[in-house]
Symmetry: C5
Subunit: 353 residues, 5 copies
Amino acid sequence: MRRFFQHKAHKAGMPPGSVVYVGEEPPEAARITVIDYGPEHYEEREVDDLSEVEDYRDTGSVTWINVDGVHEEEIVEEIGARYGLHPLLMEDVVSTGQRPKMEEYEEHLFMVLQMLVPEDGGVVRGEQVSLVLGPHWIVSFQERRGDVFDGLRHRLRSGKSRARTSGPDYLAYRLLDAIVDQYFVVLERMGDSLEDLEEQVIEEPDQETLEAVHELKGELLFVRRAAWPVRELVNALQRAESELVAEGTDPYLRDVYDHAVQVIDTTETYRDLVSGLVDLYMSGVSNRMNEVMKVLTIIATIFIPVTFVAGLYGMNFQWMPELQWRWGYPAVLVLMAVMAGAMIVYFRRRDWL
Amino acid sequence: MRRFFQHKAHKAGMPPGSVVYVGEEPPEAARITVIDYGPEHYEEREVDDLSEVEDYRDTGSVTWINVDGVHEEEIVEEIGARYGLHPLLMEDVVSTGQRPKMEEYEEHLFMVLQMLVPEDGGVVRGEQVSLVLGPHWIVSFQERRGDVFDGLRHRLRSGKSRARTSGPDYLAYRLLDAIVDQYFVVLERMGDSLEDLEEQVIEEPDQETLEAVHELKGELLFVRRAAWPVRELVNALQRAESELVAEGTDPYLRDVYDHAVQVIDTTETYRDLVSGLVDLYMSGVSNRMNEVMKVLTIIATIFIPVTFVAGLYGMNFQWMPELQWRWGYPAVLVLMAVMAGAMIVYFRRRDWL
Amino acid sequence: MRRFFQHKAHKAGMPPGSVVYVGEEPPEAARITVIDYGPEHYEEREVDDLSEVEDYRDTGSVTWINVDGVHEEEIVEEIGARYGLHPLLMEDVVSTGQRPKMEEYEEHLFMVLQMLVPEDGGVVRGEQVSLVLGPHWIVSFQERRGDVFDGLRHRLRSGKSRARTSGPDYLAYRLLDAIVDQYFVVLERMGDSLEDLEEQVIEEPDQETLEAVHELKGELLFVRRAAWPVRELVNALQRAESELVAEGTDPYLRDVYDHAVQVIDTTETYRDLVSGLVDLYMSGVSNRMNEVMKVLTIIATIFIPVTFVAGLYGMNFQWMPELQWRWGYPAVLVLMAVMAGAMIVYFRRRDWL
Amino acid sequence: MRRFFQHKAHKAGMPPGSVVYVGEEPPEAARITVIDYGPEHYEEREVDDLSEVEDYRDTGSVTWINVDGVHEEEIVEEIGARYGLHPLLMEDVVSTGQRPKMEEYEEHLFMVLQMLVPEDGGVVRGEQVSLVLGPHWIVSFQERRGDVFDGLRHRLRSGKSRARTSGPDYLAYRLLDAIVDQYFVVLERMGDSLEDLEEQVIEEPDQETLEAVHELKGELLFVRRAAWPVRELVNALQRAESELVAEGTDPYLRDVYDHAVQVIDTTETYRDLVSGLVDLYMSGVSNRMNEVMKVLTIIATIFIPVTFVAGLYGMNFQWMPELQWRWGYPAVLVLMAVMAGAMIVYFRRRDWL
Amino acid sequence: MRRFFQHKAHKAGMPPGSVVYVGEEPPEAARITVIDYGPEHYEEREVDDLSEVEDYRDTGSVTWINVDGVHEEEIVEEIGARYGLHPLLMEDVVSTGQRPKMEEYEEHLFMVLQMLVPEDGGVVRGEQVSLVLGPHWIVSFQERRGDVFDGLRHRLRSGKSRARTSGPDYLAYRLLDAIVDQYFVVLERMGDSLEDLEEQVIEEPDQETLEAVHELKGELLFVRRAAWPVRELVNALQRAESELVAEGTDPYLRDVYDHAVQVIDTTETYRDLVSGLVDLYMSGVSNRMNEVMKVLTIIATIFIPVTFVAGLYGMNFQWMPELQWRWGYPAVLVLMAVMAGAMIVYFRRRDWL
């Protein structure tokens, strides 16, 4: 999940505006869906012939064209041609791994975001979403099928959404909002991991724990990279002089902005906590070693001297008067006991026992 | 106490303006209290029928409506409807765990803060407080009963407070001030913990000490997250073009601002001290290990060589002339004493004894 | 010396403008001194009856009223009443432990600073000084007797000071300057401590060294907290629209500003050096342990194998042909010497000897 | 690759505007290439006589003069004279190791960048590229032959490039873009190294791993130093009041700006990951040591006591009744087994086995 | 070299504008040199009688008065009086250890810098240089003889310098430039030290290496403190409204600014590398210890069990059947070999051998 910055490398040396996909090929073919709606009508269908797409361009109703699969560059290029998109914009659409940003063009606004899509098996997939906001339409580009907009589509269909009576700028807000809301889901999962790791570090830290901590740190960096520029993006959107964003949408954008700030705040807090975990882990490891050492030291220092005494009287000198003494053996035993006892007392004093 | 950012996750996918409570359910039912006052009159009562609340809306006197328990969303919604509050505002009220902020709406100002409520047993509870400041009224929303405003209520009742002769903006200031003042109480407690931990780290550090340090660090992050945005909040309040905040309230807001800055400063200082504690702890652990090692080394290096000598003369070779010598045994004893003495001298020289 | 931020806690819940002292009670009663001067005259006396203080209010000459002992709140309140000071200002005066700041009121300017007073026995005491600058007067409040202004008083008395011919703004500058100059004295002392600790860490580090380093770090944080806001304070003073600060005082204020920056710079440098000391200490401890370990290892690994050989020929088997050999004993001695020699060569090669 | 800041030292004491090369001498002689093009014509050739260079100065077509080898200062000086370049500009051209920057002169814009050139054997070479943008021409200076502009030259020759119909500002953009794109290639390589090192640290960390980590960190610092100022450079270029940059070039410059930001972001992320690697490495080393210690401790503590018992009954006292007992030997064997067993049980309990 | 901030302490309590030298007394007496030049004439001489200095004040030619030795305060005061310098300015001149800064006075501009003078034996001396720029003259104050301006003097004498035809602002630029250029020389030396230390840390780290690293870190802090404010200084100079700085000098100042930024950049990079060195050192020490431990463990764990076996058959029990067996001894030898072999195999498996 950590890798959304290197793709550019494959294109070094190409002219600007080259519409060349740089990501991993998804398993399915591209799909184009059109949703056209107004207060009274709602139409949703898949489109095969790209010329149909153009029909929606100048209708009065709001149209949302969604493309799943930017790896089919010719589709992106054709839609770009039909909707008058700038070559650099189209290059950005297929250059997945962009830093989130907002750009004003004369006729439309362009936004790039990183969507985090939850998948089966607890994995999270990072995917670039590009949004082009025009006068009556939105074109959105995704890397593959499956996204975080199903709730929104459902509301649109049911007719209860405010979106049905609003313009495309409100729809754009809803798309941004859905993407940012998903960050909270991912963060919550990370929060749970963090707690698990905290417990693990305290109870039985091993090298794998630290590797998991390192992994989590990498993922936090990833979320932060995705969320950080969203603030600027929304800010730029609010300040845009374009008439494409109605004034009434402002409180909604402010809301997305707040959410983005909250996501960033949380990642920062998590990062602080994670770095505290590393300290805690390191100290736990030291502590364990310390205890191991203590046991070794106690055993060794108690037995080493008495073993020496035993060795002493195991010597074979002919003239060793103690060996003939009647009480020699008991006396030595007592001596050994005293030596061991003295050691134990010493350890008690130093608080090692 | 550390968790005020994840709740959003539960709502991902819902339309904006959904008034859905996301926190933990409190044990009691919601309660609505109305305090209505002027220089000459003071009225305080609990309200059951929400229609009564509306009666206070357009009176000339200052009204403070306090709702304990935002988990009963319908109450929030009805008050919102009667006082003309924006849907996004109401969503924020019930989405506990918000980042503190101030938002200007046309007819009212909206503030969210995190209140730290001291509870029995030394525990501190974090709770979201939302304030809506209207022309003649303030509506405040809390998560549950029990807050930090009792001193203020007491002053209002007694009639001695400046608040009785001031507008609702002064009341809002007093509410903000009460919340921020409480931060100092929490910080003082943390300062005490910090001192205790400092002593513990120096005198007898163990793994639990470090866990407590880690815990304290997490709590500092929590207070910082609560206090940091209060600066912006008050700043925004001062700069607000709204006529809801009279100019005479400015020095008071500046005061809250100063307090917030002081809280932030203190958390930063505490964080620096806490990270110093970790170093101190680590070094203490190393030091202890060092001493343990030294004892082991001294005992072992003194006895290992002499034990070897003893073993040497314990060998059973037939032809070992020393064994027959008259002074063999005493000579060996002397040899051993010399060896041990040389070691001790060596250790003394290296300053290990 | 480290504690100037918690006092606020005791007042949580009180109404704003409560003039309640929050610090430690000093041993002596409050004292009020008045110095009134002009180019030609100089008067200095202690005042008991507060009504006398008011006499100086509207004279043309410059008056400096100094109050030692803000714990007697009624004195502060009465002076405040006579000089028309704002309730919040008076609250700040008695709430010791304020963050340094400058506040403009309509008729006067208010400044709070933290003075570091050297005391007997090398201890430094932190104390809050509040200055109110009016049209012809300055009122200064201190926590207890003893301050850093004696040099200034001496110059005033002698008549040689520029202050005698200048307004109260110049006097305010001199007071600020005296406080900031004192920081350099404290820093110099810390610099000496730092050097001592550096030497100690290199020559014979023990746990107490690190505790001293930790202590020093805390004190640096303290000085930084005192000095950091002074920059803003002076800046605000320079930008103040008030006519209380004449334009000719600007270069002097710039001078104080420069000094404050220099103090901050120095604390930052010291902090960097202190954190380097911790590294150095940690490594010194590791190093010592390393040497201890090396000695243990060398002794043990040389003697353990030869001791085994001795044990081998100490066995009592009936059929052990070596024991009967004429040269068995010398051969074993040679073997042991070879083994020990091989070990020593190995250690030499690994550079451990 | 790490060294692009010291060269200035050699020139200390020389007057400003001294055109003295400070880098390492490249192996080949300088080479001057001229490319002159318009929508319809394209000319590319090497130039020996510098007077020919001036011919291109005032033609209407776009001219790109490229100098490989700024160590031949007289060439730089002559071109500077013929194209009216400022002495300080020329000094910067030959003072390789400059910080990237943009400077406006009256008649031209001057840019310095650090190009990273991939070479055989996986090595990357840092090289200073200086660009001077005039009304109809660009002069570029490089340290030696070989650069990252071959793709661009190819496009120019083929006639398909947008550059053929654009002005010299677009060419400047293309040059900037080629340099920045190359950073992605270098970063990708570093990303691969990072992953390799991550694996190594987890699987078998040794001192060389850490040295490689340190090396990587140094290289990241190098790329960051090269990329960081490019943001300002492009920013300054966009804000330049000069008419040399047409308005239509703005989206392209914004694109370079975005790329530079992305490079910086990535280096920051990598640095965070690298510092995590150091923690991981340190902990891995501790862990290994811990395990080694455990084995030692277990073996030693099991055998030391029983060896003592064996020594005890190896003593040669005449009066040791146990030695005569019929079951003495088996009893001692049992005793030893019990002692060893007890130790093992103890270790099991402490989770060491 | 590290100490340029404490001198202020000696003056705490003195009135502002006290011209009291605070540094170390240099060995020689003060010296005053005057250089007066124009396009056509050049005069350079030492001055003993200060009244002569005033003669140059109002001539049309450019005059550079240089004072070596600010410890003779009366000279500074007299020059100050003759050239109308502000008392605070003169105080700064003799208070060595100032933070670099630029100050505008009505009739002149004042600059303070820290010059790093290379001395015999590889030592670098820090020295304060103060520059006062007037309408036709520059007065420069240094702490002692010997500076970095010899190259400049030589150029002036030779008549080839641009300075001869320019005003005193250009001369001021040249002085600034000479000081900043010297920083590069010092940095280069530090870069060499850094490389040496890097090698040492990797090859044979000992405690002295770390002390050298710590020393280097302190010196980097020193250079940073000297260079950091130079940026502001030059900036302030460029923005100064004074007519003393001609517009044509701007590109030259920009050049100094760039150099200062480059110096700061380099110190930052070096600091990052230095802190990496500490990690590397720490890990190297751990690694060595690890290896020592391994050897000890291997030797001990191989011999401890077999030594026990030897001890076992050294016991003197009467009834020990093994001792009578014909093959007892060889069997025990085989047993011991098997035990040692098993251990070795175990170590091989764990990759310790």
